[in-house]
């Protein structure tokens, strides 16, 4: 049973957003609201959290991509998100390579696997 198409949202630094937008995921909805947020040095944590929550509330977003270092800033909001959709994926950025120990999802399964599995 296929549902209607859902968007992929991005919360990331400028490079990440540019790259994914070029990949073709960007869209402005009826109210000219984007499905992405470019996070710069000046962007406040509140704004990031608000955008994240608004993405969660939208029913046309299926996946939210978020740079891991930004996810760290709003870790509590991400951990509080218990539903399976939208799926929240943490991706690395240029300056911050992927760190499995910080990933929300993998922390839930802590103890089920060891560091060796990552090599």
């Amino acid at each position: 049973m296929a549902g209607r198409g859902k968007l992929i949202a991005v919360i990331g630094d400028e490079d990440t957003c540019t790259g994914f937008l070029l990949g073709g995921i960007g869209e402005l909805n009826k109210n000219r609201k984007p499905n992405f947020l470019v996070v710069e040095k000046e962007t406040s944590i509140t704004e990031i959290e608000e955008t994240f929550k608004s993405f969660l509330a939208r029913n046309d977003i299926g996946i939210i991509l978020i740079n891991q270092f930004i996810a760290e800033m709003i870790r509590h909001a991400i951990d509080a998100h218990m539903q399976s959709i939208p799926a929240v994926l943490e991706i690395p950025s240029k300056e911050h390579p992927y760190d499995a120990s910080k990933d929300s999802i993998l922390r839930r399964a802590k103890g089920m696997f060891s560091a060796e599995d990552f090599r």
Partner: protein, 251 residues
């Protein structure tokens, strides 16, 4: 006395019926518990599979992203900073995802499937220089998106299964540690009751038999005594052996 006996018999029958019902319930609870255990095992197996796949895919994703970021740097070097142009020219998404349903042991798992819609809205941003790097960049990020959609599916399945397994195990434990012991205790109680009633019945019957025997013996003695007291019994006259008949007037 008959009414009392009838009640006792009805009670006895009722207890027998209750025992049958309880046995059926025990069987039902055990079957239910076994089925749930199987479901929990199937879900856990799938869960571990998915976890392994997630770890594998996340590692791959790290590499793909690195490569994509690198090609972005190359493109920027060749074409200058196009970020603003890209960000301001967002219109409609060409890549979207659909949510499909998968099923494992009765649990529906959401699965993402990506698909294309519409053409490339950045066709015009080929930009004077760096067109080749730009198209390679687009391809890399498109590949990253595919991988990430797959990862998202794995993740949602992971979360859904986690919940389902917790619930199923809770039910298994409830049956095993609450319901089955309760039925067992009821059955034991019923059997003890039955045993006791049987003993009561047995005792009652024995008592009745004894009383009857005593009564019979007493009556026999009484009859013998009365007979003795009467003396020899005058037998009534036998007409056929009579010598003379008084009633005959003429002989």
């Amino acid at each position: 006395e008959l009414g009392k006996d009838l009640l006792k018999i009805c009670g006895f029958l009722w207890i027998c019926r209750a025992q049958t019902i309880m046995k059926a319930r025990l069987k039902g609870a055990q079957t239910g518990r076994n089925l749930l255990k199987k479901k929990s095992d199937a879900l856990s197996m799938r869960f571990r599979q998915i976890l392994r796949k997630i770890i594998e895919t996340k590692t791959k994703m790290g590499e793909v992203m690195r490569e994509a970021a690198f090609s972005l740097a190359e493109a920027k070097f060749a074409a200058g900073d196009f970020s603003t142009t890209v960000i301001q020219n967002v219109n409609k998404a060409q890549v979207k995802v659909r949510a499909k349903k998968d099923n494992v042991a009765g649990v529906t798992l959401p699965v993402f499937e990506h698909y294309q819609e519409g053409g490339d809205s950045y066709e015009l941003t080929g930009l004077a220089r760096g067109g080749e790097q730009l198209s390679r960049l687009k391809r890399n990020y498109a590949r990253a998106v595919e991988l990430l959609v797959e990862l998202a599916s794995l993740q949602t399945s992971f979360v859904t299964l986690d919940e389902a397994i917790k619930i199923t195990n809770r039910r298994v434990n409830a049956i095993e540690h609450v319901i089955i012991p309760r039925i067992d205790r009821t059955l034991t109680y019923i059997i003890t009751e039955l045993d006791e009633r049987e003993r009561e019945e047995f005792y009652r019957l024995k008592k009745i038999q004894e009383k009857k025997k005593q009564l019979r013996e007493k009556t026999e003695l009484e009859i013998a005594a009365r007979l003795a007291a009467l003396g020899p019994i005058a037998e009534p006259a036998n007409m056929l052996t009579e010598e003379a008949d008084e009633d005959l007037l003429f002989e």
